[in-house]
Symmetry: C2
Subunit: 375 residues, 2 copies
């Protein structure tokens, strides 16, 4: 019988998906269970418990949306927004922009608080913006995958939101599992992520957690959320101890996510964060030696996604193409205002290994030398 060709074994060092542990791949090949089988419901219960651990929350409404990170983003906004609701979108890169666009599609009246790509928000500016114009919700990206910048002072920002009666929706797609994300300590109202970044699960299930304030806001809605598939009230009834059918969960991906979360819990969050920080340091030092200084200054630099600035003396897309096709290493280019100006190098989850950093640095040095020679 004809077989599909095996893909090349890639070293995935882009903005996601990240490398997946063999135990997780093996879990993906598990024969299926029905979505209401008690054995499958115990898989969901395991996922809920471990998601609470990695989100560092006690939130009861903690589950995974059946889709990729963008689906979790939709779930966050579609459940909170009713047409006409005022929203403050903090924008410091592409994903903050995407939240603003989505909010508008759901009928929110979106005010924008923008800083240049690569920078982060000042809590006092968010406070001042809400003082001038209250909002039902504030959207903010913790780890901006388009720039490599890490938003600090989340607890201060959450306090400012609550002072003005707003909910804080935090995108932790590129931070969860790779650096501290403390939903309860920071008092974040709703946060979401994706499986395929620092948790190193295959994409297709995306964690979300909802606190009491946000649940109360959902309960006060005058109409059902527009998207049945993302309706968190119904999803919470399925992801419960007495499950009610809503949709067929992605069974195999749930096996994979459970295995990936188990690995994270076994490693322990402090050790995991330390590993991500140490390998990021190795990468940054190596990039500096290659005359590729980092775009983002260190206090706000993400360990999971690094953005070296490019000198403009070589064809960066050609080097990435050769890295992929000749060395089987994936990194990504910049986009929007950073197109051609930075690379985006991910060291997330299983990808964050010192041997991977070394292999990339060697390959980059070779490729850049070749590129200069040809130039």
């Amino acid at each position: 019988m004809e077989r599909d060709p095996s893909p090349s074994p890639r070293l995935l060092l882009g903005p996601g998906p990240s490398m997946v542990h063999p135990r997780v791949l093996q879990a993906m090949a598990t024969p299926l269970l029905g979505h209401l089988d008690p054995e499958f419901l115990s898989v969901l219960a395991d996922i809920r418990a471990m998601l609470r651990a990695v989100f560092q929350t006690q939130n009861d409404l903690t589950l995974a949306i059946s889709g990729t990170g963008t689906a979790a983003m939709e779930a966050a906004l579609s459940n909170l927004i009713e047409p006409g609701d005022p929203m403050l979108a903090c924008i410091q890169g592409y994903f903050g922009e995407r939240l603003a666009e989505m909010g508008g599609r759901y009928g929110a009246q979106v005010a924008r608080l923008e800083v240049p790509w690569g920078e982060v928000q000042d809590p006092s500016a968010i406070d001042a913006s809400l003082a001038a114009r209250p909002a039902k919700l504030v959207t903010l990206v913790h780890a901006e995958t388009s720039t490599g910048a890490l938003q600090p002072e989340i607890a201060e920002i959450a306090a400012a939101c609550h002072r003005h009666g707003a909910l804080l929706v935090l995108d932790v797609v590129t931070s969860l599992g790779g650096l501290p994300v403390e939903i309860d300590a920071w008092d974040v109202d709703l946060a979401y992520s994706a499986g395929q970044k620092s948790l190193s699960a295959p994409p297709g299930l995306s964690p979300i957690t909802v606190g009491d304030r946000a649940r109360a806001a959902m309960a006060r809605r005058s109409s059902s959320p527009v998207v049945f598939y993302f309706d968190l009230q119904l999803l919470g009834q399925y992801w419960s101890d007495r499950p009610v059918y809503h949709h067929t969960a992605p069974i195999s991906t749930a096996f994979g996510l459970r295995a990936a979360l188990r690995l994270a819990v076994e490693e322990g969050l402090p050790a995991r964060f330390k590993r991500h920080a140490a390998n990021a340091r190795l990468l940054w030092d190596g990039l500096e030696r290659l005359d590729l200084p980092l775009l983002v200054p260190e206090p706000i630099r993400l360990p999971t996604l690094s953005t070296p600035r490019l000198p403009g003396t070589f064809d960066e897309a050609e080097i990435r193409r050769r890295l992929l096709l000749e060395q089987s290493i994936e990194i990504a280019g910049g986009f929007g205002p950073l197109a051609g100006k930075v690379w985006r190098i991910g060291l997330m989850g299983e990808s964050s290994r010192s041997e991977n950093v070394q292999r990339l640095l060697t390959a980059l040095e070779d490729s850049m030398r070749g590129a200069v020679r040809r130039a």
Copy 2:
């Protein structure tokens, strides 16, 4: 290191997910590629080509939504409906009802054309309804998973829709890959399915195909569809020969879907349909011998999902529970008006094997004898 327990090896004979071929499970364990890797884009191209084959269509806009069947249903409606649009919802079971509910959430003015659960629509009734009240779109379920009824005369219904300027949206979740679905020959405007039914892929990617009339209607929208994640214009740009980033596709599930489609194409649609029909016949004859006559009369009876009527002399939920826990066979109960009155037995894709039918019939006979003895 701690490992998660292996699930019990189930024989999945419910309404989905169905059994998955070992080649497909193996594909699920393939190391990941990036979602913009040329090798992954060729996986998507393979999926598109094979989806056109199973949908029996030339539609260019044919792809898979990153979610389960309900997500594809959302994609269909969210792209076609603008608030205030008139919609005619044909309802003959739970999934027709769900389409009506979703349409309402998107702001459609929904008229309902209902027949009792287990029956199907008369094309002339749809024609008359549209003559009395035109609609922008008509929603119809080809294979109603809640009842086991197969809607015939789709071509006649499509013609009636077009005569009155309406688009026909057809749910082929439980038919695609198991019985004839002829999108172009029937002139259906939009159809969607799910991977985990008669295609026997793991859930998480859901096929959809959009014809020219529906694309023109999308192009005439005065506003963007409310759900960015399901925006078919943007999805079509990603699933293209010159892909533009939209979201991170579920990579592993795409490997699985490609392998499952390859199996379907290798078997050939006529042989596949014949196999489903033959095994359904075996099941029906066996059920009749057990005094479990079928709810749906044969001309409109689905080969993929059978609904034996229950005599009411035993505890049907207890028998299903014992089938699952003692024999590791999953079948499903009825719900809504059919709760406690029927079982729902799926013979879809890899589940449609004569040995599976025999094993189920033997197990049912044993369980029912035990149940009567205890009663």
